[in-house]
């Protein structure tokens, strides 16, 4: 089935659990089928992901797991820059840790990171799916990556310390 992998993965990243993700993907696909007449060519993957994303957001809002405070796209995250003195070898970070850190990001950042890094969507496509301007896509990606990097840096730092004390 076309795009099912992308649709399911996005839903799972947005709502965090398997059963809900499956229900929501099914709902989205049924909706897509129903409104297929409203689809005139163009990028079918972005179109489908938009429906999945909106279905998930509606669910998140209803289930109140949604962070009610919307993020301010005009803000910068102070003190979160990549150029910290301790160079990280993130290639070696274990995937469980990355998964955990990504799950902790606010959903607005999480979705752009997932769409960009896992599905390889362009800014233009992400702008369509997440219904935000292209400039906002870039600023959210930037802040999402900064936060992710900071989270991983803290955890890897801790882990290194634990290892050190274990060795000592």
């Amino acid at each position: 089935m076309q795009h099912l992998g992308a649709a399911y993965s996005l839903a799972r990243w947005l709502v965090h659990n398997e059963d809900d993700a499956e229900d929501l993907v099914q709902e989205a696909y049924l909706r897509a089928l129903k409104f297929f007449s409203g689809y005139y060519g163009g990028d079918s993957r972005a179109w489908l992901l938009t429906i999945v994303r909106n279905t998930c957001y509606t669910w998140l809002q209803k289930n109140r797991t949604f962070v009610t405070e919307p993020i301010d796209d005009n803000l910068e995250d102070a003190g979160l820059d990549f150029a910290d003195p301790e160079s990280l070898l993130l290639q070696q970070v274990d995937s469980q840790m990355v998964r955990q850190a990504l799950q902790e990001l606010p959903v607005e950042f999480r979705e752009v990171v997932v769409l960009r890094e896992m599905e390889g969507l362009s800014y233009k496509e992400i702008a369509v799916v997440a219904d935000i301007p292209i400039g906002t896509v870039m600023s959210r990606l930037k802040r999402g990556r900064q936060r992710l990097h900071a989270l991983l840096a803290t955890r890897m730092g801790k882990e290194a310390k634990v290892e050190l004390s274990a060795n000592a």
Binding site: E22, G41, D43, Q91, S95, L102, E117, M118, H149
Partner: protein, 267 residues
């Protein structure tokens, strides 16, 4: 470019979303600035941690089967509405038959042809490029700058020419999507009128001569030869747009079957 600007744009650079000129400026800055080079390395590291680590969730085959049958059910339920009962069958069948004929005939009448759909996309893309101020990714009137920029972004090499002397100035190019595929969009200026020229491989369909049409007040001309489809769109009047097309075609012929149009092997 300074550190402040680089920090602002570096994510766009890493994602390959910047135009050629900005990318080169950032590359230049990274060579000379240790701190920004470090940032760049860390973003690259983070990206590979995200893509290397199989973070994507895969749907189970059980779910896929379940979804398939759910979709089929919905399809069936819309195909046979509840009000069709056995005793209504004879009358219903006749009515349905008539309806199908109507829908099919009506559909044939109203369904836009493939070219209409493309024309619509072309016009939308043209309008979007004007509205968003995103007319060009490579701003250059030098065809030797515009052409290499497309390398690596497309699986074919579009012919890039300048007609400055004839009053059509090449002012840049960008990548666009038409009919589900990436295409080259070349931007020319005739006075204040921008012209978008879209080029993509015609995948073996035979060459066609020029055909002009009007969509939403824009003039369009399409043709294909040498294995490429060409669409030109502008608010320019038809006569001048045709003149532009003739220049393009004459140039292509003069160069004796343009070698640049030969499609590169798909990766």
């Amino acid at each position: 470019m300074n550190c402040q600007q680089t920090r602002e744009l570096i994510h766009g650079y890493v994602d390959g979303e910047l135009d050629l000129v900005k990318s080169l400026e950032i590359e230049e800055h990274l060579k000379s600035c240790e701190a920004c080079a470090q940032t760049y390395k860390q973003i690259r590291g983070l990206r590979s941690a995200l893509t290397n680590n199989a973070l994507r969730f895969e749907p189970s085959t059980k779910f896929e089967r379940h979804l398939r049958s759910a979709l089929r059910k919905q399809d069936d339920s819309t195909a046979t509405p509840w009000f069709i009962r056995w005793r209504w069958l004879p009358a219903g069948a006749t009515l349905l038959g008539a309806l199908i004929v109507l829908v099919v005939v009506g559909g044939m009448w109203r369904r836009p042809s493939a070219n209409d759909v493309v024309a619509q996309e072309i016009v939308s893309s043209h309008v979007r490029s004007l509205m968003a101020g995103h007319l060009m990714d490579v701003v250059s009137s030098d065809r030797h700058t515009v052409k290499p920029w497309f390398d690596g972004k497309l699986d074919f090499s579009p012919p890039v020419r300048d007609f400055r002397d004839q009053g059509f100035t090449l002012s840049g190019g960008r990548l666009d999507y038409i009919g589900n595929r990436p295409v080259a969009a070349l931007v020319y200026l005739r006075g204040q009128h921008p012209i978008n020229l879209f080029v993509w491989p015609s995948d073996g369909t035979p060459a066609t001569t020029q055909q002009a049409s009007v969509h939403q007040g824009y003039n369009l001309i399409r043709w294909s030869n040498e294995g490429m489809n060409y669409w030109v769109v502008s608010d320019l009047n038809l006569a001048e747009l045709q003149q532009f097309v003739q220049l393009l075609q004459a140039q292509n012929q003069a160069e004796g079957g343009n070698p640049a149009v030969r499609q590169r092997a798909r990766i």
